[in-house]
């Protein structure tokens, strides 16, 4: 191969190597600034005010994790936040019709749902946790051999625990009418561990001042909901949300309510 052809071959290879970067740069979506996306200076947020600690009313004022998060996002974006109370049934339609820019209703990311809505980054993991006393912590399901596991009857935790009974030798399930009762059982020493969702664990910790140990078994992220074609809204919300998550402000919000 002559020097000339080597040069051309290397040039072609270089172009091929750079092509993905050029393609990425050319197709990179560029979003208008916040003032153009929200010309009224207002961020309209649909919330479900019937679901503490995420959304509720105190003396006619909205409160809760979702409310504080929406206010923090609005502050970072330089927007005034206006809340639209919406029942859980109508929370997706509220953003689809443009009644709200975003919905925060303790809405869990649902892979089965697609089409006309998109989710923001997750801001809270409400997955199932294995809870045990902090002085006898259990780190995984395999350590439950010959132990008693408390769960809320008929819950997702119950379904998970029933699967474990097929894998873990000697595991006994103890059913309770509520997640709180299951945690009470662990605290009282009647069960070695419980499976509950993370919110139930945090609420119980707050109410009882009990320092149980929790380890995540599943992930179930709560996220905001935005209309699919409002990509610029989603982009700016995600930027603000990432700042809140990375700065530790989300932990402050959670600490306020748990």
């Amino acid at each position: 191969m002559s020097l000339f052809s080597r040069f051309h071959a290397s040039l072609i290879l270089l172009l091929i190597a750079c092509a993905p970067i050029v393609w990425w740069w050319l197709t990179l979506e560029r979003y208008p600034p916040i003032r153009d996306v929200f010309p009224t200076g207002e961020l309209v947020v649909a919330i479900d005010p019937s679901y503490p600690p995420f959304g509720y009313l105190i003396a006619g004022e909205y409160a809760g994790i979702d409310v504080d998060l929406a206010r923090a996002i609005g502050q970072r974006m330089g927007l005034t936040v206006r809340f639209v109370p919406t029942s859980y049934d109508g929370i997706y339609d509220a953003v689809v019709t443009g009644t709200a820019d975003v919905a925060f209703g303790a809405t869990q990311v649902d892979g089965n749902r697609g089409g006309d809505t998109r989710y923001t980054w997750g801001y809270f993991n409400n997955g199932l946790v294995l809870v045990s006393p902090s002085d006898a912590p259990l780190y995984e399901g395999a350590t439950l051999t010959d132990k008693t596991l408390a769960v809320e009857y008929g819950s997702l935790a119950d379904a998970e625990a029933r699967l474990w009974t097929r894998r873990v030798r000697g595991l006994t399930l103890q059913h309770h009418p509520t997640a709180t009762a299951a945690l009470e059982s662990v605290r009282a020493g009647n069960a070695q561990a419980a499976i509950v969702d993370y919110t139930a664990f945090r609420v119980y910790q707050t109410d009882s001042a009990w320092a149980g140990y929790a380890t995540f078994l599943t992930d179930a992220y709560f996220a905001g909901v935005v209309r699919a074609d409002r990509r610029a809204v989603l982009y700016h919300l995600n930027q603000a949300l990432l700042d809140i998550l990375n700065s530790g402000q989300m932990d402050d919000i959670l600490s306020k309510h748990f």
Partner: protein, 393 residues
């Protein structure tokens, strides 16, 4: 880079020396490769046979309490055996009727093109288990919704008046197809809520025109099928609220617009929320006995004997939702509600619990309205109702 180019050249030379390389370079595939690919494809096709749901001997429901009824969510259910399992559990509970949603958008995705598959499956298993169906109609296909250029998208609940006749024609087709198995057809759902009316201002007179169009179309082809108006949602929202309108006021508006002549019964929803089944009703309060106030509005219009179908009711036992009760209260109140309706509400033809089961969990408090988990773990309330349905008071 030069070194890389030379290495590439050497690679091509090596490839030409090997049989596989020659095959690839000359787009020739040796037979052994074809066989391997075929074998891998066949292995990939190995899968357990789908669970079948063959029909058994036709069953009948031993109905002791005719009001006992439950709302199901079968239209989104994929495995057919789950549909069958649901009807078996409902028959064994002693409920002779269910309420099920049959979205227009699912069945007539394009004008005049119908996909009856899922609805046929539901009716087939209902018939086999001896269970009747109250069909709730709604959800507008995209082709029947207004084209609002530069406006926010419409929802599945946006039905423009121009499409009333098309909706009515669909309900008539549905009624004629399943007439022998229907206990009634509910025209729309909760039209007194803005989001159920496509996020538009609610309109009792407009809804009555939809009801009239549907009533006429259904009676023309299936005169014995009962047409139910509503179903009204319980709410105390005042006149002018952008969210909803008080169901008592809305009903009054419907009846003034002539709804009494274009329905055979009224469908309503009456939830207990945090109050017991026997808590006294009041216009500014939402509880189970709000149904009595609805009945009073009907009576005020000379319709005191008009049949009322409670197509959604119940209590929720989520530990965090503000409108929920405890699981034991839920059982007590639900059983108490059935006894109260049985003894004192002769005008209430059906009292249908929301909801038997969801095909997939909602991951929020609605999951705590169910009688069964998604995985078909029947909850204590189911067994309590089964005992009630069998005559154990």
């Amino acid at each position: 880079m030069m070194r890389a180019v030379l290495t590439l050249r050497q690679w091509f030379q090596a490839a030409r020396r090997s049989s596989v390389g020659r095959a690839v370079l000359h787009w020739r595939t040796p037979m052994w490769a074809v066989r391997v690919i075929l074998a891998l494809w066949l292995i990939g096709q190995i899968a357990p046979a789908p669970v079948r749901a063959p029909l058994g001997e036709p069953q009948t429901v031993k109905v002791i309490h005719p009001q006992l009824c439950v709302h199901t969510r079968l239209i989104d259910e994929v495995p057919e055996y789950r549909i069958q399992q649901t009807f078996i559990a409902i028959r064994e509970m002693g409920a002779g009727t269910i309420v099920e949603f049959f979205p227009w958008a699912y069945i007539e995705g394009s004008p005049g093109v119908y996909g009856w598959g899922q609805a046929d499956k539901i009716f087939k298993h209902a018939r086999n288990q001896g269970v009747k169906i109250i069909a709730r109609m709604g959800f507008v296909p995209a082709w029947a919704r207004p084209d609002l250029t530069n406006q926010p998208p419409t929802t599945l609940n946006t039905l423009p008046e121009d499409s009333f006749a098309e909706f009515a024609a669909f309900t008539a087709l549905f009624a004629a197809r399943y007439a022998d198995q229907l206990d009634g057809i509910v025209i729309w759902n909760e039209p007194n809520l803005s989001f159920e009316w496509g996020f538009r201002p609610v309109d009792p007179a407009g809804y009555t025109r939809l009801l009239a169009a549907s009533y006429g179309a259904i009676k023309a082809v299936a005169p014995d099928v009962l047409v139910l108006g509503g179903a009204l949602a319980p709410t105390v929202e005042p006149v002018g609220s952008p969210n909803a309108l008080n169901d008592l006021i809305y009903l009054d508006g419907m009846l003034k617009a002539g709804a009494g002549k274009v329905m055979d019964g009224l469908a309503i929803h009456t939830y207990g929320f945090t109050q017991p089944h026997d808590a006294a009703p009041a216009p500014d309060r939402l509880n189970f006995r709000r149904a009595e106030l609805i009945h009073e509005v009907l009576a005020d219009h000379g319709l005191g004997d008009f049949p009322v179908y409670i197509t959604e009711t119940g209590w929720n036992d989520n530990p965090r939702w503000l409108q929920a009760v405890t699981p034991s209260q839920r059982i007590d109140y639900t059983l108490g509600a059935y006894k109260l309706a049985d003894e004192t509400w002769p005008w209430a033809k059906k009292v249908c619990l929301w909801v038997f089961r969801y095909p997939a969990p909602t991951h929020s408090y609605p999951d705590y309205f169910t009688l069964s988990t998604t995985d078909f773990d029947l909850k204590p309330l189911y067994y309590a109702l089964k005992a009630y349905g069998a005559g154990s008071e």
